[in-house]
């Protein structure tokens, strides 16, 4: 019996460790250890950053407009042979793109202008949304976008297919001038022959439309026309034919896109980027080099044959990296793990500042946080240095308003900005000063003035308004979140000292998003005033689309529901500059930051220093705040040993 037991255990271990020590990753494969991925591999589905790495490597290198790792936009010379920009009498600006003729899909077929026009059209069509996707900002700002996007028009007036390798995009005059105008002229290719073999792109002076291939119109019978006439319907043959054709066109596009949503989304058969999709199994996605890839904007091609993005538990990723099971892990922020990796001989660390920050966010249309002085009091009731030390192990900094240390504006005018802004940190007296400027001035009877010296840490003495309502804020955070932990620790200790009752509820991330983005829609069920989240900025910093303009009050896009005419004015002034007015942009940006801080809809808590932890076998892994490893994959190499 003993022999049997010993034999079984021995065989198990022997089989398991058959090759002795753990094998290092293959020299031809770059293995990234990441949190779980969703498995959506085309744009329009899901918002996982880790899925997005794959999407970038599959689909994002053949854009007409791209950006450098430093976040600088440029016309992609690998894709665009020539281009012209013309302005018509109405002020509309037309970009005409002439493509190189040697661009290829991963199956060897040619990338043509039709593929770019198809991308602009399907990605902004209502059919794409009906297929379950989001259409983001494709085609936004072009003439006729609203009509095409809403389904009111069957032609996209601002997009024209000129010849096999030439197409044009016309930016609507009402969107101009726009500081990031070049982003409106960007387009990607989509493989029309694969995605929509049942459709054709037809283009004339009115714009481009997607039509059903092989559709033959059959006029209704005389009896049906008679019946329609009887019930008062339009029986004009031309109108009947036009309606039937429009219906068929919409149906053909919808059918094609639904198929894309059910198949290509999960296993893309074709791509234009440096890699092509191989498989997604057991939470690992594999990509293989695309031998037909022409190169990135500098003409560089990738050198590593396979990319594997593997799910690894986040508390073990550094151990796995040191053991050689994975080659890199990205975006690390925990100090202890960074130190451990730095101490290992076979790992090196690459760091960069975040173009964004984590924040304590407040709804400006609900409860006490409607008052900017209450929001400022919250700013003075937390020790933000402790947040950086506690959560980030010291690897990070603190911003005073809505900016990140890696933004180009900050690099140009950071010192000036810091002088203009009011630095703030834990200060109970200052918090009380701000609260003394609110309606929360009384004891529980609503008459006796509140005396800050009587406030204690137990919260037995709180501020009330004249109606006898207590000053209380409800915070919603998430479980297993160190930021929620430190917020709870700090505010529960400090808020009572200013006579403020603070409570914390923890929910899952969906509950947080529900209450944060759609709080305005919850009616009687609304109960939370504050939240903890984070924001990252894209290279095109346009706060019109990122929370603050009053055009979006009553929608998730203005998530804090902040409405301020002065801020609106600055936002519009900033975005309405000509792209050449860089200095003016920075000047208005400074004013914008000052006004934003006066309103303080968020208390910025920390701006991380991110670390990519990389095996010493891997070189060129020089990510930036704007360029993940997927965007610089052509620069990355791996040694055999």
């Amino acid at each position: 019996m003993k022999k049997l037991v010993i034999a079984i255990l021995a065989i198990s271990l022997a089989l398991g460790s058959a090759s002795g020590a753990l094998a290092q990753t293959d020299a031809n494969t770059l293995v990234l250890g990441l949190p779980a991925m969703n498995g959506d591999w085309i744009h329009g589905f899901g918002n996982s950053s880790y899925d997005n790495f794959v999407k970038v490597m599959l689909h994002d290198y053949m854009d007409t407009v791209t950006y450098t790792p430093a976040g600088e936009y440029l016309v992609n010379p690998t894709v665009v042979e020539d281009y012209t920009v013309e302005t018509d009498e109405a002020g509309n600006k037309t970009y005409t793109w002439k493509l190189h003729e040697d661009l290829l899909w991963s199956d060897g077929s040619q990338i043509t202008a039709q593929d770019y026009v198809f991308w602009l059209m399907y990605f902004s069509s209502p059919a794409w949304v009906e297929a379950g996707a989001s259409n983001g900002s494709a085609g936004y700002g072009l003439v006729g976008y609203e009509a095409w996007n809403s389904g009111d028009a069957d032609v996209f007036a601002g997009v024209k297919l000129i010849d096999e390798f030439t197409f044009s995009m016309t930016i609507d005059a009402k969107e101009l001038p726009y500081f990031y105008e070049i982003t409106y002229s960007g387009a990607s290719p989509a493989p029309k022959a694969v995605y929509a073999p049942n459709c054709e792109i037809v283009s004339d002076e009115n714009g481009a439309k997607v039509v059903a291939k092989d559709f033959v119109y059959e006029p209704p019978s005389d009896e049906l026309i008679a019946a329609m006439a009887y019930f008062g319907y339009d029986t004009d043959p031309a109108n009947l034919e036009a309606a039937a054709v429009a219906t068929a066109n919409k149906a053909a596009l919808l059918a094609a896109l639904q198929k894309v949503a059910e198949t290509e989304r999960f296993a893309p058969t074709i791509s234009s980027g440096p890699y092509k999709f191989v498989s997604f199994e057991n939470q690992s996605v594999f990509l293989e080099i695309n031998e037909f890839f022409k190169g990135n904007y500098e003409g560089k091609k990738p050198s590593i044959q396979f990319i594997e993005q593997r799910f690894v538990p986040q508390d073990m990723d550094v151990d796995m990296l040191i053991a050689g099971e994975i080659d890199a892990t990205t975006g690390e922020v925990q100090g202890d793990k960074i130190e451990k990796a730095k101490a290992a001989e076979n790992v090196h660390a690459h760091s960069y500042l975040r173009a964004g920050y984590g924040h304590f966010s407040m709804h400006c249309d609900f409860g006490p946080t409607m008052d900017a002085n209450v929001r400022w009091a919250m700013g003075y009731l937390i020790d933000r240095n402790a947040v950086v030390d506690y959560v980030l192990g010291g690897y990070g900094g603190i911003t005073q308003a809505e900016y990140g240390f890696a933004q180009w504006m900050y690099e140009e005018a950071g010192a000036e900005l810091e002088e203009l802004l009011t630095p703030f940190n834990l200060n109970i007296d200052k918090a009380n000063e701000h609260l003394d400027m609110t309606e929360w001035l009384f004891e529980a009877d609503g008459v006796t003035p509140f005396d800050a010296s009587k406030a204690d840490a137990e919260g037995t003495y709180l501020r009330h308004n004249a109606a006898g309502e207590v000053l209380a804020l409800n915070h919603l955070g998430t479980v297993d979140n160190p930021i929620t932990d430190i917020i709870e620790i700090q505010y529960m200790a400090n808020a009572p000292l200013a006579g403020l009752k603070f409570s914390v509820t923890r929910g899952d991330f969906n509950a947080l998003l529900d209450n944060f983005y759609y709080g305005y829609d919850l009616g009687e069920d609304r109960q939370y005033h504050t939240f903890n989240l984070a924001v990252n900025f894209t290279p095109a910093f346009d706060p019109y689309f990122s929370s603050w303009h009053s055009d979006f009050i009553g929608s998730w896009e203005n998530s804090n529901q902040l409405s301020d005419p002065q801020l609106d004015e600055l936002i519009m002034a900033m975005r309405s500059l000509d792209p050449t007015q860089k200095d003016e942009f920075v000047e208005i940006w400074l004013q914008y930051q000052v006004r934003w801080q006066q309103l303080l809809p968020q208390v910025p808590l920390y701006s991380n220093e991110y670390f990519d932890l990389i095996s010493t076998r891997v070189s060129g892994f020089n990510t930036t705040p704007f360029a993940t490893y997927a965007r610089i994959i052509c620069d990355i190499t791996k040694d055999a040993e």
């Binding site: 996707a133 690992s284 053991a323």
Partner: protein
């Protein structure tokens, strides 16, 4: 026997219906808007309502609650389990791969469990209070009482971090490996989770087998058998073991049906892409249809296991009359 099985199967129908009603009711009572959870985050305001309405209709939420229930129930019977909000695709597509992984892992566990626990349990009973018995009792107590996450972490530290013999977890890939290399990669990745699960199962099963055997060995007919001069092996395996089979068969039947049930903690620690880990993720992400489908599946498995166990009782013990 046939009449008994048919009768029991018919009883399962209302039982399952009740379970289905409870599961559906719980799913409907879960907080949050399932449509909102599934919509992409970057829709513009005017696109949002259009997408919301489309998804609302797609999920059948525009129908009454009874209509939704019956649609869900009959779809489930046809193998259509709804839409996973976490993965944004049909539930059936989501669970196939983890189910396969869990079954593969559990085959290893059950193999080790039955191969070791039954002979050891019998021997412990026969050699009661011996060093052999005491040693296995200590083993049993330790591993039965030890939380699986703790045991998993100990194994990870020892075999992966300290000794570097075995992978930290995860699954092998068929892209870079094939043939025997792929097979051995599976074994290597399975060893730690399978060993942890097997040790806990063995600890539990040994106690069941030992106690049943001790009860059987104390019966008068064993004394009679020995008095007749039968060989000890015959006494133990033909007389005692057969009479100890009812509790043991219960364990064996439920063990075999546990092939399909995952181990949330162990699978999570070892990043084994199994059904247990998926259930945890589904609960964390409030993926209602996935939670309901998995629970309905586990309910069916449990009901069938109970039926099979009852049938097995009749087979192993003639005194049990199935009628």
């Amino acid at each position: 026997m046939l009449r008994y099985v048919i009768k029991r199967l018919l009883i399962l129908i209302p039982v399952f219906l009740c379970i289905a009603v409870i599961l559906f009711g719980v799913a409907k009572m879960m907080p949050g808007d399932p449509v909102r959870a599934m919509l992409p985050s970057n829709l513009k305001h005017d696109q949002y309502q259009m997408a919301y309405d489309a998804m609302y209709r797609r999920l059948g939420l525009d129908k009454s609650i009874p209509e939704q229930f019956f649609a869900w129930f009959f779809n489930m019977l046809r193998g259509e389990f709804g839409w996973s909000s976490m993965n944004n695709r049909p539930v059936i597509d989501v669970i196939a791969e983890p189910m396969r992984n869990t079954v593969i892992l559990n085959i290893g566990v059950i193999f080790l469990q039955l191969l070791i626990a039954i002979p050891v349990g019998i021997r412990c009973a026969v050699k009661r209070m011996s060093v052999f018995d005491n040693a296995w009792q200590v083993f049993s107590l330790i591993f039965w009482s030890m939380p699986s996450f703790f045991l998993s972490l100990c194994f990870l530290y020892l075999f992966s971090i300290h000794l570097g013999w075995l992978p930290f977890g995860g699954m092998p890939s068929s892209v870079t490996l094939s043939g025997w290399a792929y097979f051995f990669a599976w074994i290597r990745h399975m060893v730690l989770p399978a060993t942890v699960l097997a040790l806990i199962s063995i600890a539990y099963t040994i106690r069941i087998v030992r106690n049943s055997m001790i009860d059987a060995l104390n019966q008068d007919y064993i004394r009679t058998a020995r008095a007749k001069g039968l060989k000890e092996k015959t006494v133990i395996y033909s007389h005692a073991f057969r009479n100890a089979l009812i509790p043991i068969s219960t364990v064996v039947v439920f063990t075999i049906f546990s092939l399909f049930s995952g181990s949330p903690v162990t699978e999570s620690v070892f990043a084994w892409h199994g059904i247990g880990r998926m259930l945890i993720q589904a609960v964390m992400m409030r993926d209602t249809m996935l939670i309901v489908t998995l629970n309905a599946f586990f309910a069916v498995i449990s009901l069938v296991a109970v039926l099979v166990a009852d049938i097995v009782y009749g087979l192993v013990d003639p005194r049990v009359r199935l009628s």
